[in-house]
Each structure stands twice: as structure tokens, then as C-alpha cells.
């Protein structure tokens, strides 16, 4: 009797432990599945006409190649040399703008392939894609934010030409910081424009790039799958972004966190899937403040949207599925637009502060060089992002007109001159602008305009934020009381 009770107890124990182990095991399996969804890819092949060896339908190498071409342009724009009769700096930049690196001769410049602290897998642009260039993808509309009635690619080419002939890429006479202008504008005119005004716009309609057909003849991905992937590539987030903090994503872009970047632990950073670029980098910078969650909002919507497309298993997307896709597009492009608007807000604040230093330098007669250098850098970023914002699908013409009018075509210089146009030879035309005080006021109004038109939350460098905080500190009198 005693024995049988003991055996029964042992049995109960074993059953209990076994149940626990099973529960843990199955929940772990569940966790692995959920975990897999936190990364953009791999996703299975669903294209029915494809019979090849590929197992992963994700492909956005061309977009990453463009991210790297953009990085290279920014780097090269600061190497301008007016004394070079061969125009070598301009020619090099044009190569990164126009070349499709099929022959793998175009070196990656940023991140540096020779870095030992942040080693990267690819050395040449062509290793990511041999069929991508920036010039073919720039916004084709007339850019009212820049003088001369030029299309997007013409604006970039104009800036490149100027940068190549300007020492260090910074024109101190007209106030143009070309590395900043080229970089920020290209982010908008190519990366943001292509994603939100093309791949997530026309190509997400029922008739364009259907899911029951390959993207192009012989492709292993469907029309919708690849359109979605391309937009994700332009966003510039690492595939495993959902597993990172905003600070980690930020540090990856800054090439400071190899451990966080190297998701597959192979010791090198795969520039296609493990790197943070351009827009995703700026999103992470705002998310670091803890006030926003742009990076993960957008990345999650991309992952969820891709899952939905994959779940159609190579069939045409139903109306319900297309509607759901539109919901994801709203999240992606809405947040993306806000990230750019946050940047306009931030750099309007930086420019405001820099103008204060210019005033001080004029008053004291010292420190003008350093004040001007910062001012032109911030203004370049402000102008570049303001132009980028206008390359999106929303034509907020009233907002954009006010934005362009307030910042002008060039920064207000200490002698109160300002670029107002371009002549037929491509030279800047200048006129007398307002006072520095008025121009500072314009920066405040730009911040106000951005806060009014967009759902900004980070509001970095809020020029009047300190004042609002003081008013908050003193409190509002809401009750009727005598003293």
C-alpha cells in the first residue's frame, strides 16, 4: 500500500514536471515564431511561376545601393575644389548619381569598407545591385522650393556642379552648404519620393503590380511583394530594427554599435539588412527622446504589411486585403512625413540659435567664422529637409509656399543679402533681405507652421519651448479669486 502510494506520488511528480517542460517547450516554439515576425524577412516564395532555387522572396538590394550612393554623394560634396580644372570632384559625384554599378567598380564610401571597428560585408555598390542609380528615380516634378524651375534630378545636378567648384562644398558668399543640401534633398527627392509617391502609392492599387503575377518576367517575387520590399529599402531601417532600441539603431547609423548591428553574428555588418540609413536614422534620433516611436511604428507596419502580402500566397489581393494595406501605408507615410517635418522643425530651431550667434559676432566683432559655419550647416539641413518634405505625395501647396517664402532660396547673410533666383548661366541672383531679427522671426514661424500642420511630438530645438515651460511652471489661473 505504502509502495503503491509512493509510486503514485512519483508518477504525479513526473507528470507535473513533464507538463511544465512541455508547456515551456511549446511556448518557446511559439516565441520563436513571434520572434521571427519581428524581422523583415526572410519571407517564403509565393510567386507561382517561379521554379528556381530561391527560398526567400525579399529583395531590396537596389534601394540599399541607392542609400549608399546617397551616403557617397554627401561625403564627396565636401571635397569640392575650385582650383581643379578637370572638375574631378563633380565628375566623381555624378558617377554616384548616374552609374548603375553592374561591373562593381563603384566603391562604397560610407560606411568605410576598411574600418576595423565597424567592418562591413560589401565593398562595392554593385555587390548590392548592379542596376540602381539615383538620377533615374528623382522626383520629376518642377521643384518650386528651388529657383530655376528645375526637376528633382536637375536640382541635384545643379547642386553637385556648384559643390564641385566650391571649397569644401560650402559657398560662404551665397550661404550654401552643399553636402547638407544635396544629402537632405536627395533623401526626399529620391528615397521618400520613391517610397511614398510611387511604390506605396500607385503600385499598391489593385491594377498595378498585381500579386498574382511576378514583378517582372522570371522574377521570384510577386508584383506587390517586391513593391513593398522596395519601399522598405528606401526607409533605411535594419531588418531587425524591432529588436533594437532607438539608441541602438541610432548608434548603428553612427557606426558605433557593431554588436547591435551584427544580427547574424558573422562578425561583419551586412549593409543590406543590418544597417540603419537616412530616414530611419533621423526617426531613431527623435525616438531617442522618448517622445516618439516613429522608427518602430513604420518598421512594424512594413513587417505587418509584408506578412499580409505573403499570406495571399501568390494570389491577387482581395479588396479587404488592399484596404488593410492602405492602412499600413497610412501609418508608414504619415509617420515618415512627420519625421521629415520634425527635422524641418529641429533645424529651424538650430538656425534660430545660430542667427543669435551671428548677431553676437557682428556686435562683438569676433567669432564670425565659427558662427557662420554652424549657421550655414543648419540652414542647409533646414532647406534640404524642407525641400524633401515637398517631394512626398501630399501637395500641401499653401504650407509649402509659406515654408519656402519664410526661409527663402538662400540664408540671409550677415550683410543682409539673400539669394532670390538663378540667372540663365546658373549664377545666383541676390537681393537685400530683411533684418536678422525678422529672419529669426521667420524661423520661429516655420516651427509654428510645422507644429500646426504636422503631428509633431519630439519638437527638438523648440525655440519657444523654454518659454512654454516657464509658463507651465508659473501655472494657469483658472479660478476666480481676489488677492
Amino acid at each position: 500500500m505504502y509502495k503503491s502510494t509512493n509510486i503514485s506520488k512519483q508518477f504525479t511528480k513526473i507528470t507535473f514536471v513533464g507538463s511544465l517542460a512541455c508547456t515551456f517547450m511549446f511556448s518557446s516554439i511559439g516565441f520563436v515564431n513571434a520572434d521571427g515576425h519581428g524581422v523583415y524577412g526572410p519571407f517564403p516564395i509565393t510567386e507561382k511561376s517561379y521554379n528556381g532555387p530561391k527560398k526567400n522572396s525579399v529583395s531590396y538590394g537596389g534601394q540599399i545601393a541607392r542609400q549608399l550612393q546617397h551616403n557617397a554623394l554627401k561625403k564627396l560634396a565636401s571635397k569640392g575644389n575650385p582650383g581643379d580644372p578637370t572638375n574631378a570632384p563633380e565628375k566623381r559625384m555624378l558617377k554616384y548619381l548616374n552609374t548603375k554599378d553592374k561591373s562593381k567598380t563603384l566603391a562604397i564610401l560610407d560606411p568605410s569598407p576598411s574600418s576595423s571597428k565597424f567592418p562591413v560585408k560589401q565593398k562595392m555598390i554593385g555587390e548590392l545591385s548592379g542596376g540602381a542609380n539615383l538620377s533615374g528615380k528623382a522626383d520629376k516634378r518642377i521643384q518650386t522650393s528651388w529657383p530655376g524651375n528645375m526637376s528633382g534630378v536637375d536640382v541635384i545636378k545643379f547642386m553637385i556642379k556648384k559643390a564641385g567648384k566650391t571649397k569644401g562644398g560650402v559657398d560662404t558668399r551665397n550661404g550654401m552648404n552643399y553636402p547638407q543640401l544635396i544629402s537632405k534633398y536627395t533623401m526626399g527627392a529620391v528615397l521618400y519620393h520613391q517610397a511614398c509617391d510611387n511604390y506605396l502609392d500607385e503600385k499598391m492599387t489593385a491594377s498595378s503590380k498585381p500579386n498574382n503575377k511576378p514583378y517582372k518576367k522570371g522574377a521570384y517575387y510577386t508584383g506587390k511583394e517586391h513593391s513593398w520590399d522596395e519601399a522598405f529599402g528606401y526607409w533605411g531601417a535594419a531588418a531587425h530594427t524591432m529588436k533594437l532600441t532607438a539608441a541602438q539603431s541610432y548608434n548603428i547609423a553612427k557606426k558605433k554599435d557593431l554588436k547591435a548591428a551584427d544580427y547574424n553574428n558573422d562578425g561583419v555588418v551586412d549593409l543590406k539588412t543590418e544597417m540603419t540609413y537616412a530616414h530611419a536614422y533621423y526617426a531613431s534620433s527623435y525616438d531617442k527622446t522618448g517622445k516618439t516611436n516613429y522608427l518602430k511604428n513604420v518598421t512594424k507596419a512594413f513587417i505587418d504589411g509584408r506578412k499580409l502580402i505573403t499570406s495571399a500566397n501568390g494570389n491577387k489581393l482581395s479588396k479587404v486585403q488592399l484596404d488593410k494595406i492602405q492602412d499600413y501605408v497610412q501609418i508608414i507615410c504619415g509617420n515618415w512625413e512627420d519625421v521629415i517635418a520634425e527635422s524641418v522643425f529641429k533645424y529651424a530651431g538650430s538656425t534660430y540659435k545660430a542667427l543669435g550667434k551671428i548677431e553676437k559676432a557682428i556686435e562683438t566683432g569676433s567669432g564670425m567664422d565659427s558662427a557662420m559655419s554652424k549657421y550655414l550647416k543648419y540652414w542647409g539641413e533646414l532647406k534640404g529637409f524642407a525641400m524633401a518634405l515637398q517631394a512626398g505625395p501630399d501637395n500641401k501647396s499653401d504650407t509649402f509656399n509659406r515654408l519656402n517664402r519664410m526661409m527663402g532660396f538662400g540664408p540671409l547673410m550677415p550683410n543682409l543679402s539673400q539669394v532670390v533666383g538663378i540667372d540663365s548661366s546658373g549664377n545666383y541672383i541676390k537681393d537685400q533681405g530683411s533684418s536678422i531679427g525678422y529672419y529669426k522671426l521667420h524661423m520661429l514661424k516655420i516651427q509654428k507652421l510645422m507644429a500646426k500642420e504636422y503631428a509633431l511630438k519630439a519638437k527638438v530645438n523648440d525655440a519657444t519651448g523654454g518659454m512654454a515651460a516657464l509658463l507651465e511652471q508659473v501655472g494657469t489661473k483658472k479660478s476666480a479669486e481676489n488677492d
Binding site: K360, Y438, T464, T476, K477, S479, N482
Partner: protein
């Protein structure tokens, strides 16, 4: 339900936020000061002090009950009115933007040697300027007949308790909210423009350092029956509780005196100062004889409108008469 929660929140805020005059901590300090004053200066026994401070006749008087009721009703009225009133941020933004278009005042370098002094300078300046605008507004409430009709509600109190501050007509409440918004908006925008992020308020428990001490040192005794006076010389600098009680006195010689809140210097400069020396107060209110409805809640809310209507119609009829007279003379 949400409406009720909002009322409870406002009530709670009034008693538990150190930025508010009737914060429990300040009420407690007022009681403590009263005890010390009566025991040490007036040589009363503890029991006498207790009965004097918590005088039943005062706290459950008709006048005090009207104060309590107005406190609640005004919270509800202001709840609807305050969202449509101009905010201090709107005023500050306009002023701040205006300052960019002038060249007389320019921002000061952030690297100044004495930049650490700025928060103190700002806190003191704000407190002083706020007090000055309170003085001006208060004086105008007495001097302009239409405004006096509104302010009379407050002066109709026969018993003064710390909650008498809430015996305020909502129209006067709006004037005070606007005064506060204007002062805060202008002063803060001006300082922020000149000193940028170097300025901040020096606070204790979230309240302005000087407001905190003003309230802690017995601001609630201004509206009380405890006669606490300062030395004569000090009453020319700071308004004592007794001086504010003089302001509420029915005696003719006390009318239009002591408009100041913290500082007596404004009254001194403008000739409206009355120190407590030889100035005992016999009764609070407006008239000697109590009006039948003076603590009736409807009367308190309606009578200012009636009073204002009478003044305006009188003005119109006087002007009309004068115009007719002139026409008559010209015709003759």
C-alpha cells in the same frame, strides 16, 4: 461624471497645490501664526486662542456660507469660460515675435559672467511686476464705477475667512485671469527674449520662491478676523493682514486704501497707503446696515449686472439730455 471629476480635481488642486493660496500647508501655517501671535503678543491663553481663531460665528456665518457656495459655483462657471479666454502662451508668443522686429532690446550673451544670477533676478522681477499689475487692477476695480459694481461682491463680505478670496463675481474672475495671462505673457516673453534659456523660476514645492514665502507667512490672514499688524515702517513696505482688513472696513476714511497685495510701496507711491496704527476696524462690508439679500447667492451674481445697467443707462440719459440741451440752445 467627467464634469464631476473635473470639479473635484479643481477643488483638490486648490487645497493641495502649493501654487494655490488656500493650499493646506499655507492654511496650517496661518493657524500657527495666529496661535503664536495671540499667545505671545496678545497674551491670550491657549483656550482663548483656540476659540478666537476658530470662531464659530465667523466660519458658519451667512457671509462665510455665501463664500463657500460661490467658490463651488465659480469653479463650474470658470470651467466653461476659461477655454475661450486668451492664454498666456498666446500673449507671450505675440510679444516674443514682436520683440524680433525691434532693435532697442537685444538678447544677452549666454556666456555672461553673472548668468547664474538670472533665475534669481527673473523670479524677483516677475513677482514684483505681478504684484504691481495686481495693485493697478485692484485700484481700477475701485475707481471705475462699472468695475466697482463687479468688485462690490467681494467687499460685501461681513466676515472674512481665507475662502473670502473666492467671493468674487465671475466677471471679476475673468478680469483677473486676463490680468494674470497678460502679466505672465509679457514678462516671460520679455525675459525669455533677452536671457533665452538662462532663465527659470526659483521654486519651492513648484511654487515661485517669493509666492511660497508670502503664502507661508500668512497671506491667508489677510482675509481673516485675526488682527496682525507690523511695525509702522514695515507696513510702508509690506502689506500686513491688518492693512488688508482696513481695506475691507466700512469706515469712510478706510475706503479706497491699501490696494496692494504683497508690497505696500505701490500704495505709498500713489498715496493710498493706510497703516494699522490708530486704525482699528469695527466692521467689514460696504454699508453700515446689512442689506436683506447681501448674502443671497442670486443677489450676489445678479446685482453687479443691475448696478452696471443703472450706471450705463444713467450715462446714456445724461448724454442724451446734454445733446438735446445743446440742440435747443443752437435752435434758440
Amino acid at each position: 461624471m467627467e464634469f464631476l471629476t473635473q470639479i473635484i480635481d479643481t477643488l483638490h488642486e486648490n487645497f493641495f497645490d502649493p501654487k494655490k493660496r488656500v493650499f493646506v500647508g499655507y492654511l496650517f501655517s496661518a493657524i500657527l501664526i495666529s496661535f503664536l501671535w495671540l499667545c505671545i503678543v496678545k497674551k491670550k491663553t491657549l483656550k482663548e486662542c483656540f476659540y478666537k481663531i476658530f470662531d464659530k460665528k465667523i466660519f458658519i456665518s451667512k457671509s462665510a456660507k455665501a463664500d463657500y457656495l460661490m467658490f463651488i459655483i465659480n469653479i463650474i462657471i470658470l470651467m466653461f469660460l476659461s477655454p475661450i479666454l486668451i492664454t498666456q502662451l498666446a500673449i507671450a508668443t505675440v510679444v516674443f515675435e514682436f520683440l524680433h522686429s525691434q532693435t532697442l532690446l537685444m538678447p544677452i550673451d549666454a556666456n555672461l559672467k553673472y548668468v547664474w544670477l538670472m533665475p534669481y533676478f527673473f523670479t524677483i522681477s516677475y513677482f514684483v511686476l505681478d504684484d504691481l499689475t495686481k495693485f493697478i487692477t485692484h485700484a481700477l476695480m475701485h475707481k471705475i464705477p462699472i468695475l466697482w459694481e463687479i468688485h462690490k461682491t467681494h467687499h460685501s463680505a461681513r466676515a472674512l475667512t481665507p475662502l473670502t478670496i473666492f467671493r468674487t463675481h465671475p466677471l471679476e474672475g475673468i478680469i483677473f485671469v486676463l490680468r494674470s495671462a497678460l502679466t505672465q505673457g509679457v514678462v516671460i516673453a520679455l525675459f525669455f527674449y533677452i536671457y533665452g534659456n538662462n532663465i527659470t523660476f526659483i521654486t519651492i514645492l513648484g511654487a515661485n520662491l517669493l509666492s511660497f514665502w508670502f503664502h507661508l507667512l500668512g497671506s491667508n490672514l489677510r482675509h481673516s478676523h485675526i488682527w496682525i499688524n507690523y511695525w509702522n515702517w514695515l507696513e510702508k513696505i509690506l502689506i500686513s493682514p491688518a492693512q488688508h482688513q482696513i481695506h475691507h472696513s466700512i469706515k469712510k476714511e478706510h475706503h479706497n486704501k491699501n490696494f496692494g497685495v504683497t508690497f505696500a510701496i505701490w500704495d505709498y507711491v500713489f498715496g493710498t497707503l493706510c497703516t494699522s496704527k490708530n486704525n482699528e476696524v469695527s466692521k467689514f462690508g460696504i454699508t453700515e446696515n446689512e442689506h436683506k439679500y447681501e448674502h443671497n447667492i442670486f443677489y450676489l451674481y445678479i446685482s453687479p449686472f443691475v448696478g452696471m445697467y443703472e450706471i450705463i443707462s444713467k450715462q446714456i440719459s445724461t448724454r442724451f439730455k446734454n445733446t438735446n440741451k445743446k440742440t435747443f440752445i443752437i435752435k434758440q
